[in-house]
């Protein structure tokens, strides 16, 4: 199957005092449409940085990211914004909801930024699926962590993206909520045929993915397929 997104010799370096730290070191890898891939590794292995550079949240120091056959390094800031709002969805560990907007408004945010009329049926379906129908009129400060993360997932899916990037989405949640969120991610990914690239340090979470990339010192040390989703 053709890759929807791939990277070639992707490198991200940071300055730490006077020394250069390679958080991502010449990684070349591709992800297929509808694939659920977990990226795992010890703390400081560069998994989050890899996700951020792959998803254009951060510019790589060198290397290329190809999405749908297009080299993203040639995109300007505005084009990248449009790409993020239309084709990518993001779920963060700290939910990152806009505090001044209600749950519903947060969900609609990418659609409204794109100046489109929302597909109400689809949005309602998302809300039902995520079980947040009775909480979406509230501001994030009035919601629990699990509820906030569900809204963040709904927001990530609102524009029917082709890839969902999730950075430790269960990291801030208790075991039960974490399991629920992960199930939801898997479900929506399968339901809508979305590629799910998820960073986690929890092996239990990684085990549920079709493919697991293990990183150490900014390099992929293992790329294993664990079979179809259960």
């Amino acid at each position: 199957m053709a890759n929807i997104i791939e990277c070639h010799a992707l490198t991200k370096e940071y300055l730490s005092g006077e020394s250069v730290v390679k958080a991502v070191d010449h990684i070349s890898v591709g992800f297929a449409q509808g694939e659920f891939c977990a990226i795992t590794g010890p703390s400081g292995s560069g998994k989050s940085t890899f996700l951020h550079t792959l998803s254009s949240l951060e510019n790589p120091t060198s290397g290329r990211v190809i999405y749908g056959g297009e080299d993203l390094s040639k995109y300007n800031d505005n084009q990248l914004s449009i790409l993020r709002r239309r084709r990518f969805g993001f779920v963060f560990q700290a939910y990152n909801l806009v505090q001044e907007l209600t749950g519903y408004e947060n969900i609609l945010l990418p659609v409204m930024l794109d100046k489109k009329k929302p597909d109400e049926k689809y949005i309602d379906k998302l809300i039902d699926m995520l079980g947040i129908g009775n909480r979406i009129g509230h501001l994030p400060s009035a919601l629990s962590g699990g509820q906030q993360q569900r809204i963040a997932i709904a927001r990530a899916l609102a524009n029917k993206p082709s890839i969902l990037f999730a950075d430790e989405p269960t990291g801030n949640l208790d075991g039960k909520s974490g399991r629920e969120v992960l199930s939801l991610l898997k479900y929506v990914s399968r339901e809508f045929g979305i590629t799910l690239i998820l960073v986690t340090h929890d092996l239990g979470v990684a085990e549920q993915a079709q493919r697991v990339l293990t990183l150490a010192d900014g390099k992929i040390i293992r790329d294993s397929k664990v079979g179809d989703l259960a």
Binding site: H52, L57, E58, N59, D77, N78, S81, I82, L83, R84, R85, R86, F90, F92, A94, N96, L97, V98, Q99, E100, L101, T102, G103, Y104, E105, L108, L109, P110, M112, L113, D114, K117, P118, I136, G137, L139, S141, A142, R155
Partner: protein, 899 residues
């Protein structure tokens, strides 16, 4: 070894690490210190200038006692309330034949010299016999203004012969002019014209003797002990007080200039103080987390205030030397441009300014510091206060929305207090700006009908029914001197005297004419407490002096009136106002006829002034209301004099009055019966040099001479042939100086008045523009700080929005909408307030005058304010764009992680 961690080291660490952020704060602190120390410098400058100006104009003495007798010299010597005194040895009175005006000649002992403090403009003080130093005005009034140092001066000298006496025959004396002194007699003379012949303005060397046959008199310059002025009794001698309270126009103008500058500086100081509060606020709110962490690890409120207070103290100390230098040289430079200002700050003033500016900055920084120290650790770290506030608010989800607009709307809602405060500052700035520009630009210039007004500086009249013999004024020669100038087109002289009209019986009209002068003709206590109930007893409460005057002169059925004389063309100009008869200039000149100015009706009214202040009795030509209140009308009379009627006029000139105000036996009286040639109900106020009269007699100068002795002019009004330029004005003022030297005068030049008004308006414009710009800048900086702080605080939100696809323009738009809201609300409130006042003032005036006139609206001048607001918007929008661009330089992850 590691350094010990103290609040000071923490404060210093903060300063080192946040250099960039502190630059703005430092500039604000320097400005605040400059303005606060500048204000003190201005105030100190006012005092030093006042003392210096006083010393230059009047010397250091509090009193001058003239030509003391042995008896009162002994009494003076025994005075314990005197701090010091010095003696002037009066040798006589010197004058020139041509001018007939001169000065007392004297020599001063060392103490007197110190107290009189002569200001040497040129040459030296006399050191040997035959040398003199003279004040500029003394030389001018003797026609010797062109004399140079070393020139010979010939004077007639009336030799002094003891106190209050001079030998009749003048001797010729020749002196060498060795010094020219600044004027002092002129200023003292203006305070007390009666002492004109006593204050010396020509000085000889110490030890000079009187001429043969004469005997010197002693005058004393007195300095009173501090606080003892009230206890000093000088009533037994001839003296004049050189009191600071009688400082006159120069001091007022000095005060106005200085107060204006101090107020300006004060306004700037307050504004910069607000700026500091705001800058510290933003600075601290950006560092809430740091404060929270310090609190979480156990820092007390006091320690938090200590850490951040030390920061501001260190910043103030760093700024202090530069600030003091700027304000010192700034004030020196500004006062250098202002006449009469002397800037001599003492060490005490310098240290005081330093302390005041340090305290001011610390106080301004304490407000945000106290607020910051009250934050709880969790509140600081997680901004729980905002979360709580958000939870309390009712928010309804939008189904469709524009992201920038909705974000702006929500932010305005959640941060409404901060936004409201900012809008309020802007509203005040807009209000002041609109008001100042509208009213300042619509204020009209003073209109003078002539180019120069020359008038007597002091009121010489005694009572409204008689005149003093020793009348000062301007002669025909003075008038001719002015007319001889080829640039002068005409000179109009005015004379006004007091007279009494008598009749066969005391008519109601005459009684009301006298009521008009109730303050002089009736008993003071009675008039001041008069009511509608006691009004009927008024006639029985005539002032004793008025009754005595009428008895002494055997005048019955008398009423006091003014008699004014003007040049023929001016009197002829009255023709338009004549309601009966006609103006025949020949008959006026011959003294056969006069023009009577008398309203058709007179109404006596009592106006209740205030609770406890009683009633005020006044006579009006018709019923009027004062402040919308009807007066209590007690009496009315209709004019019962007609053209052709005989008018008995009595003019009395007295030498002096006794202590009760009764005239002494030394008076002259002229009785004349004239015919009323024409009647006017009213005449322009310019006919009444003393102002206020409603009824009187007008004639020509020749006509007046037929009625009474020749009087000197009280006013000379000069009209120039062409346009007056600066050079012509300077020449004219020199000419007028010659005429007015020795005569206390008020001189007004239309050219100078226009220049002064133009300059004053220009200064006002600059000042108001500065205040408006400053207020708009403060509002702008508050808006900028508020939005910038929110951008910095909201990094994470910016990152989130960027992650979900918001572009830079979406973000800028959201903040610009917030900015527009704040500017819009502030401007609308400011303009609305101004319009309410503007409309209210006009309608108030309209209502006050009982709908008789249309409301007067001042022409609006709002474009300056609108321009200011637009500029403010442009600057703030640019800054927002810059701030957002700055955030966009970070990656989204950096935004989100708040690195």
């Amino acid at each position: 070894m590691k350094k010990k961690l103290t609040t000071t080291s923490l404060a210093l660490g903060n300063l080192k690490k946040r250099k960039k952020q502190y630059i703005t704060l430092l500039v604000g602190i320097i400005l605040a210190m400059v303005f606060s120390s500048g204000t003190l410098f201005f105030i100190s400058c006012l005092f030093s200038s006042q003392n210096e100006l006083w010393r230059v104009r009047y010397g250091n003495a509090n009193y001058i006692a003239f030509e003391l007798t042995e008896d009162n010299f002994a009494k003076l010597d025994a005075q314990s309330n005197l701090a010091d005194y010095g003696l002037a040895h009066v040798l006589g009175y010197g004058y020139t034949e041509e001018q007939e005006k001169g000065s007392v000649i004297a020599w001063l002992d060392d103490y007197a010299k110190e107290l009189y403090a002569p200001v040497l403009l040129d040459g030296k003080y006399p050191e040997s016999v035959g040398e003199i130093a003279a004040e500029q005005d003394a030389l001018l009034c003797m026609g010797l203004a062109d004399k140079q140092i070393g020139d010979t001066v010939s004077l007639h000298l009336q030799v002094q012969d003891g106190p209050d006496h001079r030998l009749t025959d003048a001797v010729e004396k020749t002196y060498t002019l060795v010094g020219i002194l600044g004027d002092k007699r002129k200023y003292i003379n203006n305070l007390d014209p009666e002492k004109d012949g006593y204050v010396p303005a020509i000085f000889t060397c110490a030890g000079a003797q009187t001429e043969i046959g004469g005997k010197e008199a002693l005058s004393a310059y007195l300095a009173v002990r501090k606080g003892a002025a009230e206890h000093l009794d000088l009533s037994y001698m001839n003296f004049t007080s050189v009191d600071q309270n009688r400082f006159g126009d120069a001091f007022t103008s000095l005060l106005e200039k200085s107060v204006f500058s101090a107020v300006m500086s004060g306004v700037l100081m307050l504004a910069s103080g607000l700026g500091i509060v705001n800058a510290f606020n933003s600075n601290l709110s950006e560092r809430k987390k740091q404060i929270g962490l310090l609190r979480a690890v156990g820092a007390t409120r006091r320690q938090i205030i200590g850490i951040y207070g030390r920061e501001s103290f260190i910043l103030s100390l760093i700024s202090a030397p530069l600030s003091l230098l700027i304000s010192y040289f700034g004030v020196k430079l500004i006062t250098g441009f202002m006449d009469d200002f002397v800037f001599l700050p003492s060490w005490r003033v310098l240290l005081g300014s330093l302390a005041a500016s340090l305290v001011f900055v610390l106080l301004a920084s304490l407000i945000p510091l106290f607020a910051a120290s009250r934050i709880s650790p969790m509140q600081a770290i997680r901004n729980t206060e905002l979360s709580r506030k958000m939870r309390r608010m009712k928010i309804r989800s939008k189904k469709l929305f524009k992201v920038p607009k909705l974000l702006a709307k929500r932010n305005l809602k959640f941060y409404r207090l901060r936004m409201a405060l900012t809008s309020l500052i802007l509203a005040v700035a807009v209000f002041i700006s609109s008001y100042a520009f509208t009213y300042l630009l619509s204020a009209s210039y003073t209109v003078m009908f002539d180019d120069y007004h020359i008038g007597l500086g002091a009121d010489q009249s005694f009572e409204p029914y008689c005149n003093t013999i020793r009348t000062i004024g301007y002669t025909e020669n003075d008038k001719q001197t002015l007319l001889d100038d080829p640039l002068v087109a005409s000179v109009n002289g005015k004379v006004a005297i007091n007279a009494v009209i008598t009749a066969d019986h005391y008519t109601d009209y005459m009684r009301l004419l006298n009521y008009n002068l109730s303050y002089s003709l009736f008993d003071d206590d009675f008039v001041q407490n008069i009511t509608a109930e006691t009004y009927g007893e008024l006639d029985a409460h005539e002032a004793a002096a008025w009754t005595d005057f009428k008895e002494k002169l055997n005048l019955t059925n008398a009423a006091a009136v003014s008699v004014a004389a003007q040049d023929e063309p001016v009197v002829a100009g009255l023709a338009e106002s004549v309601v009966e008869g006609r103006i025949d200039l020949d008959k006026l000149n011959s003294g056969e006829e006069v023009v009577l100015i008398a309203p058709k009706e007179l109404w006596a009214g009592l106006h209740f002034l205030d609770v406890g202040a009683g009633y005020y009795l006044q006579v009006y030509p018709q019923k009027i209301t004062i402040d919308g209140e009807e007066l209590t009308w007690t009496e009315t009379a209709t004019l019962d004099m007609h053209v052709g009627d005989a008018l008995n006029l009595t003019v009395v000139n007295i030498d002096d009055a006794d202590e009760n105000g009764f005239i002494t036996e030394n008076y002259t009286r002229r009785d004349k019966t004239v015919r009323i040639g024409a009647i006017c109900y009213t005449a322009d106020y310019t006919f009444w040099p003393d102002g206020g009269s409603q009824c009187g007699v007008i004639t020509t100068m020749d006509g007046l001479r037929k009625l009474t002795d020749t009087y000197k002019y009280k006013f000379l009004n000069v009209t120039m042939a062409g346009e007056v330029t600066a050079e012509i004005d300077a020449d004219m003022m020199r000419l007028i100086d010659r005429i007015t030297s020795g005569v206390p005068s008020d001189v007004q030049s239309a050219y100078q008045l226009a220049q002064e008004e133009r300059q004053s308006r220009r200064q006002m414009m600059i000042a108001i523009s500065a205040i408006v710009i400053l207020m708009l800048s403060v509002a702008g900086s508050m808006i900028n700080n508020a939005l910038t702080a929110r951008i910095r605080e909201g990094k994470r939100e910016i990152g989130t929005l960027r992650a979900v696809g918001a572009s830079a323009s979406d973000l800028v738009r959201s903040y610009v909408i917030e900015l527009l809201h704040m500017l819009g609300i502030g401007s609308t409130v400011g303009f609305a307030g101004f319009f309410a006042l503007w409309f209210g003032e006009a309608m108030g005036d309209w209502l006050k005058y009982h709908f008789t006139e249309k409301p007067v609206f001042e022409t609006l001048s709002l474009w300056q304010t609108l321009l200011g607001v637009l500029l403010l918007f442009a600057v703030c929008a640019f800054n927002l764009w810059r701030q957002i661009r700055k955030q966009m330089k970070y990656s989204i992850v950096e935004n989100i992680r708040e690195l």
